[in-house]
């Protein structure tokens, strides 16, 4: 059994056993409280640059399969578990998680007191950390403190597709959208496709012109890793889309980008929301949805009143009930809305999936306005698209 070390930037050290690949890795230590869905978590691009500690003690029980990946590869910087499965037991399993982590070069550690780690991060905030199967604690700490912080990190381009691609609609195609890939998960176009939406996925650095070039019915902003304050290119593209009055829906990182495009601020949460059990109040319907979260940053907006922005008023549509964090925005004067959580779930509950329908409804509405106005509104031509 090879030993491994986990060292946090404040010096706290956990000694455990190597899990997955051997070697050394550094990243931001965060904890995720989902009890299922480790395969989806590992392949979620939003976790890029992060050492993810799973609070559920048994990880790997269902092995890995060919169907549940959320992207082409695992993105986490490192993986921390307490009790890795010795064998998978599930009819869909094609291999063990341990082997898959090793094959994808994910350095992990097992057998540590993950609850102690979680309490530490909860009380002191997410922080830089390193896992190593080869360095001493001091050497590893030096590597950790030399690493870049998540604040200011621009990670979306590192996880985004380099080439545009299309995910066709299932059945009759009703709408076409452009999706800005800031770290998109496969579940998102899948949900849209089921509603008759063809998704054109574009790289994270796509401009407004590029997003609108094909004349899509709407634009989608995906989830993604990093600090939204470091993604001005995406903010600029979104402003272009808002100017075009094209229906827009953003999730997670996309919510933060929309917020910034509207002129709102974003800030880093102490330890973030990462789990599948987060209660969010939909302030319009008054209902509570249990939602899937993965965010370390959040939008700063007043909860008690709409905010005036260059695109008209915007209100906070969703609030996290655990800590009153802004979990969604709704523009009152342009066809744009966003949520901080994951309606595509994967992993997580499906309570928020109807939000994709809301996006479709918004596009439907926009289309009927166009019909009433006598054909497609030439909004693209009228926009300056130069809001930077």
């Amino acid at each position: 059994m090879r030993e491994a070390l986990l060292v946090l930037e404040d010096g706290r050290t956990f000694r455990g056993e190597a899990y997955g690949a051997t070697g050394t890795t550094v990243g931001e230590a965060v904890f995720a409280t989902g009890m299922t869905g480790y395969q989806e978590t590992l392949t979620d691009p939003s976790y890029a640059g992060q050492i993810v500690a799973m609070t559920a003690p048994h990880i790997g029980n269902t092995g890995v399969n060919d169907e549940d990946d959320e992207s082409s590869r695992m993105w986490v910087a490192g993986f921390v578990v307490r009790d890795p499965a010795r064998r998978p037991a599930n009819w869909r399993a094609t291999g063990t998680l341990d082997d898959e982590l090793a094959a994808q070069g994910v350095v992990g550690i097992s057998g540590i007191d993950t609850r102690a780690l979680t309490r530490h991060l909860r009380d002191r905030g997410a922080m830089r950390a390193g896992i190593s199967t080869e360095l001493s604690a001091d050497e590893l700490l030096a590597r950790v403190t030399a690493a870049e912080s998540m604040t200011g990190a621009d990670l979306a381009p590192t996880v985004s597709t380099q080439e545009a691609y299309v995910v066709p609609a299932v059945g009759e195609k009703r709408f076409t959208i452009a999706a800005l890939d800031l770290g998109i998960k496969t579940a998102t176009p899948r949900h849209l496709a089921a509603l008759g939406v063809e998704t054109h996925v574009l790289p994270s650095t796509a401009t407004a012109e590029e997003l609108l070039a094909a004349g899509p019915d709407g634009v989608f902003l995906s989830n993604g890793p990093g600090d939204p304050a470091a993604a001005d290119y995406a903010v600029a593209a979104v402003r272009g889309v808002l100017d075009a009055r094209r229906p827009l829906f953003g999730i997670c990182f996309g919510n933060q980008i929309l917020g910034r495009a509207l002129g709102l601020g974003t800030y880093k949460l102490r330890f973030g929301h990462r789990g599948l059990n987060q209660p969010v109040l939909d302030r319009v319907s008054g209902t509570v949805r249990v939602t899937s979260h993965n965010h370390g940053f959040a939008v700063d907006a007043p909860l008690d009143r709409p905010t005036d922005t260059p695109y008209g008023q915007v209100e906070v549509s969703h609030v996290g009930l655990n800590d009153d964090v802004v979990e969604g925005l709704r523009c009152l004067e342009v066809p744009a809305f966003s949520v901080q959580f994951h309606p595509e779930s994967a992993a997580g509950p499906h309570d928020a999936a109807p939000l994709f329908q809301r996006f479709v409804d918004l596009m439907e509405e926009a289309r009927s306005h166009q019909v009433h106005a006598g054909g497609p509104a030439p909004v693209v031509e009228h926009t300056t698209g130069e809001n930077t």
Binding site: F14, F31, T33, G34, M35, T36, G37, Q39, E40, T55, A56, P57, H58, N61, T62, N65, E67, D68, R82, D83, A85, R86, R87, P88, A89, N90, W91, R92, I112, D113, T114, R115, A116, T118, R119, R122, G275, L276, N277, Q278, P279, L281, G286, T287, V288, V290, L321, N322, D323, S345, A346, A347, G348, P349, H350
Partner: protein
Amino acid sequence: MPKRTDLKHVLVIGSGPILIGQAAEFDYSGTQACRVLRAEGLRVSLVNSNPATIMTDPEIADATYIEPLTPEFVEKVIAKERPDALLATLGGQTALNIAIGLYENGVLEKYGVQLIGADVDAINRGEDRQKFKDIVRSIGADAPRSRVCGTVEEAIETAGEVGYPVVIRPSFTMGGLGSGFATDEAMLRRMASHGLADSPVHTVLIEESVLGWKEYELELMRDRSDNVVVICSIENIDAMGVHTGDSVTVAPAMTLTDVEYQRMRDVGIAVLREVGVDTGGCNIQFAVNPADGRLVVIEMNPRVSRSSALASKATGFPIAKIAAKLAIGYTLDEITNDITGVTPASFEPSLDYVVVKIPRFAFEKFPGADPRLTTTMKSVGEVMSMGRNFTEALGKAMRSTETKAAGFWTGAPDNRSAEELLEALRTPVDGRLYTAEAALAAGATVEEVAAASGFDPWFVDQIALVREVGEAVREAPSLTEPLLRRAKRHGLSDRQIAALRPELAGEDGVRALRRRMGVRPVYKTVDTCAAEFAARTPYHYSSYDEETEVRPREKPAVLILGSGPNRIGQGIEFDYSCVHAVMALQDAGYEAVMVNCNPETVSTDYDTADRLYFEPLTFEDVLEVVEAERAAGPVAGVICTLGGQTPLGLAQRLKDAGVPVLGTSPEAIDDAEHRGAFSRVLADTGLLAPKHGTATTYAEAHEIASGIGYPVLVRPSYVLGGRGMEIVYDDATLEAYIAKATDVSTAHPVLVDRFLEDAVEIDVDALYDGTDLYLGGVMEHIEEAGIHSGDSACALPPITLGSADLLKIRAATEKLAARIGVRGLINVQYAIKDDILYVIEANPRASRTVPFVSKATAVQLAKAAARIAVGETIAQLRILGVLPASGDGTDLPEDAPIAVKEAVLPFHRFRTVEGHGVDTVLSPEMKSTGEVMGLDAEFGTAFAKSQAAAYGALPTEGTVFVSLANRDKRSAVFPVKRLADLGFRVLATAGTAQVLRRHGVTCEVVGKFSEGPGNVVEAILAGDVDIVVNTPFGSPGNSGPRLDGYEIRTAAVSSGIPCITTVQGLSAAVQGIEALRRGDVGVRSLQEVHAALAGGTRGGPSAFAGTQA
């Protein structure tokens, strides 16, 4: 939505006596509900017939009615109390059925009572199996193919369509009563006819078998804004085919991917919405085909259930409490999560630990009962454990069950071959975890064990992991610190390690080594959120991990050891005493620290004690808790005398380990429990015991029996609930008994006592502080001595004893308590024969009857006992008002109401291997699972109420069948004649009829079972008999009169009619029938009764009668 303002007064219905399938968990949920409603400013009235509950404590509700849970009596309470609303979803199936009854017969409408937390149509949709399946299919989910059948023929036709094996499920029964699998037509015929009889609506579901599929449960909650959350997922290790109550279960689910889990969650939520569960909790069961993942919905319970109690304890999310709040109008997001104090209840708990539940069975109590586990629940209790991984939780759960073996390698080795073990694994029985480990040890592979047992390979692999760790411990040249730590991380107890390493000088040696190496547990917190938010409630479990979360404390702590899993002989009554001790010690300025492993109880509610440790009640686990608390602050000591035999058995070892044991000393306990020492106690006090001796061989036993004369009562020493106790009339039976008692040794001899035939048996609960005695109550048994006191009905105040007798009893009790050195409670059983008082036994601890006595006399004995344990005196407690200022249970007012306790027996749950009922005769071996109390101004009415509460009302007219043993014929003539005079038609066997006719009783002769067609068994099964009187005679065997009696009694039980097996019971029943015929049975709240007892303004007989509806 905020609280409804139109509700001012809510009636809560409890679940009645503890039964298999409906046990202490409903005391937990009902107590929570009452507390919540009162905290919200509502008046709460409560009906529950079970005196052994916390919920029937007078301070829990505003008006507490210990009355039978029948629609008739509940209507009387409604008429008297006039509540606005009825909450019936927290009292199990019993409460729900009564509520539906009162709704359907128009009583709720008549009195303007709203049903809250439930919707009758939704309940019907959830419980009517066909409607439910239609709903499941309508939302696009799958269910096993099936049909509801009203006749046996229809059932057979359906089985032909879906193919054998088929499942039989009677509609509207609880705990899966009457359910089972049939593999062929003959089996189906028998089971369907039983099932049709068990179902109150006389239908059964015949269903495609999903035997061997993986079984899951979800606990969900919904509020009136349609917010739905899943509180917990539970995975059964025992596959489909074993009732979930009898299965080893794990939370959260261990072998589902997110895709599969979310599919289950979606289906569960859709079903809940479509069924239309109003607000509150609901449990849905699923089966998953391990080969292809096909998910089918099995059933739902639209109410708080046993599983929801488990889920509450497993997650820290108090389902019953929240359900009560939802019922009065709150929504989930308006309710704060108690544990974090800041986040709302509208979330789904995340666990960073693993929970294992293991059921506890009592097959040894029912000789001949089929031990196979089926879809009919048979377990009498359960344990839960938590660990930071599955193996740790499994090890803790296995040792919590208090069976002979306390985890792998601690029992007798199983030397069967791998083939034999694999074959054995195919039949679900108790203890298959041990068999699985033995099979792996014998060379079977994980796959083979998984295939044979139906356990998921992941669980089998975990057992293999424990086995490998065990082997490493066994094989290592020396036990190193890393190896020891690894063993502890995988749940191995010191005792298990000692079994693997004989050179370590036993458990104590392992502990010494472990402590030297610094391998000690830490204590984690159950916080609902996997540490995402700080927890305010100190609800802890141990783990061999790095960081402990026990907070320092200033106040001195007292640890109260609970009673572990419910079992026959050690049930909820002991939990009641423990909870009272918690309250009393908090009042006295201590921090009360509870240690227990039973998820069904009030004591393991995180709200009950100041700190809760959910831990096995073994010496190792308790000692570690003591050490952890000592590190946190001052510890005054440990109370071992309130939780029954389990903690009592730890007292001496804890004391030897330097832990202060509060109350009666372990040495004093030993004096009372060891026959030799107790003989000296009796000699010193000048009290008499029936002649007796102790034997370790048949020769010795024979010599004693010859000396004192048959019949003799034989039993092992150190037992609770009369385990292994028998009355023996001859040498042959005595020899057979000794041969059967395999554990007989010098350390565990067999006790042989003279059996006092026709004596009156007396039970006494008293307090002693070293100076004064407070005699709590004297209970007179209705059945003669020889029936276990736990199974015997009894009356308080005693109905035939005079004050001279009471003074004699008081004096004897005082002498015993003083000589033994009691500091707290003592229970003494006496027998009076020919005016001579004999001491049967004395137990210096809380007894099963403490709650009954406390409720009947309005004096809370367990609270006083806890205060005495920490040094207060009876004189001080009288001044403080904990005990009455003067007097005690021997001088109750003349017109004090009569309380009758009746036992409830689980015979109908068990069948022999051949499918027949098991015998229902009472004996010195306790068989009852619970009890009820009937309370009224006079004995007849109180007894009638107790019968109505336990078995349904006594008939006031109709046909009585009488078959008497010769010795009973003389004494039974008068009561039978009285029944005839009241207009009952009398059927009797020939011999009995002859005697009755000579005394002028008109009766018809009916044949015995052995006499062929037209016999009494047929008449009973045909519904032509309303009450059976059958006193057993002859020795147990397979033929002759004993068998006749057996057939008669099992027929009575399966027909659900009263079956009286003693003459004393018959006399009491006659008085009860007379009282019922007078028709003036009323209800009166415990608070009124207690006020009358305390205030001297006695209620008198009219206080009950005047309240008639």
